[in-house]
């Protein structure tokens, strides 16, 4: 019984501490957010891009990973970027240095579409 009580107390302390850290995080919000957003990922699963629409700040490196057993490509509809064929677990990265909306698709399976929104 005493052990259980101790665990509850510890858990409560942990929750309180977490809340404090979260609050501190909020204070330094801008800096933390910017740092975390310099990289973003898109996973290719079951013939679809996830997330289909990805919103990122300017300067973000977006990395696509193909997790299907079939090759895919990542090709900008407007000719901004174009990957080679990505076999299983292959990756493709592109740095988005200008704001805008970048629609893209898989040139092998053109039903697969997605977009990166850079703000």
């Amino acid at each position: 019984m005493r052990g259980k009580f101790a665990r509850i107390v510890l858990a409560s302390v942990a929750v309180a501490l977490l809340a404090m850290f979260a609050a501190v995080g909020d204070v330094g919000g801008a800096a933390v957010q910017e740092k975390a957003a310099t990289n973003a990922e898109v996973k290719i699963d079951n013939f679809s891009f996830g997330p289909t629409a990805l919103t990122v700040p300017v300067g973000t490196t977006v990395t696509w990973t193909n997790r299907d057993d079939i090759p895919h490509t990542v090709v900008s509809t407007d000719g901004v970027f174009k990957s080679k064929a990505l076999d299983t677990d292959d990756k493709f990265s592109f740095v988005f240095s200008k704001p805008g909306t970048y629609p893209y698709f898989c040139s092998i399976h053109p039903k697969m579409t997605g977009q990166v929104i850079v703000q």
Binding site: N46, T77, A85, I108, P110, K111
Partner: protein, 322 residues
């Protein structure tokens, strides 16, 4: 949405006794190829997986050839770690036929990643075929990275545009079309204006009694557009073939056998020599279907023979019904 499509796939329109179960059986993976026989100007297609049950005398015709498809050389995942062996098995089956086909048609996805060594391996295996002529059309995997330049350097001698062409064999007019290049975001297979113009001119002078065989990688009928199994401008192409009494359309891409009859046109899709894909809408995606290793070869014998006779549609897939 896909739910209603699924329900709409299977109908015994022709009251020919092909129910859902029969249809599903037809669609089991054959893993080999098809023997096509032109008899009295009409093309009939027989799955090689049932070759031991054929009646050779009944199947005699003025012309026979074999269709293989989707060899995906270079694929090495769980669905089939040895696609070279299964392609070779298909060639062996074709070679063992009592009436050898006069030539082979390969309806695309020769390679998996359009790598030179993948094409080399397929060429090497096909050299083992008794039939010396092989006619190709590209699949989307064969044109990765270069919109088909390498494919045309290898297989496209004497072809037009992106690699389309036609030829005659024993009075039958064959047309190889390319619907895998310049694909547009969100779209399906695509023939394009230039190719359509060429097609219209190509068939213009032919008599209406000439049997026509059209072959292309992605189906020229709407099998399941949600998975990209169709061609955006195929209706335009088919409109040029309306005057002909016998038109057969042979496709690959979907890694399973399907047939459909629409007026004077019979549509056929061939199995892959490499790996099966799921039935339309029956999985999250059209990715390779994993069959346990010990079953991979044994499923070769499951598929029912699909005969095409007169106006009877053996298996109908019509996503418009949904």
């Amino acid at each position: 949405m896909s739910q209603s499509k699924k329900a709409g796939i299977l109908h015994d329109h022709n009251h020919d006794g092909i129910d859902r179960r029969g249809f599903l059986k037809c669609m089991a993976w054959a893993g080999t190829g098809a023997l096509c026989v032109v008899q009295g100007g009409v093309l009939k297609s027989y799955s090689l997986s049932r070759a031991n049950e054929w009646n050779a005398a009944k199947m005699a015709g003025e012309l026979s050839f074999a269709q293989i498809s989707d060899s995906h050389m270079g694929f090495n995942k769980a669905a089939n770690p040895d696609v070279a062996a299964t392609l070779k098995a298909a060639v062996d089956k074709i070679n063992a036929l009592s009436v050898p086909p006069e030539f082979l048609l390969h309806t695309g996805d020769i390679s998996h990643l359009a790598r030179p060594e993948e094409f080399d391996t397929v060429d090497q295996i096909l050299q083992g075929a008794v039939a010396k002529d092989v006619f190709f059309v590209p699949g989307e995997h064969d044109v990765i990275g270069d919109e088909g330049k390498q494919y045309r350097d290898r297989y496209g001698k004497g072809t037009q545009g992106e690699g389309w062409y036609s030829f005659e064999k024993k009075g039958v007019h064959f047309i190889g079309l390319v619907n895998v290049v310049n694909l547009k975001a969100g779209g399906l297979g695509n023939l394009g204006g230039e190719q359509l113009e060429w097609l219209e001119a190509d068939v213009k002078q032919l008599k209406a009694s000439t049997p026509i065989v059209v072959f292309a990688h992605i189906p020229l009928w709407s099998v399941y557009p949600e998975w990209g199994w169709g061609t955006d401008d195929s209706a335009q192409a088919l409109s040029y073939l309306k005057k002909f009494g016998s038109v057969s359309v042979l496709n690959g891409h979907i890694h399973q056998i399907m047939q459909k009859v629409e007026g004077n046109v019979t549509f056929h899709t061939a199995a892959s020599t490499a790996f099966p894909q799921p039935q339309p809408g029956k999985a999250d995606s059209p990715g390779p279907m994993k069959v346990p290793a010990e079953q991979l070869r044994s499923v070769l014998g499951i598929t029912d023979v699909n005969f095409v006779r007169g106006q009877h549609a053996l298996a109908i897939v019509d996503s418009q019904l949904g």
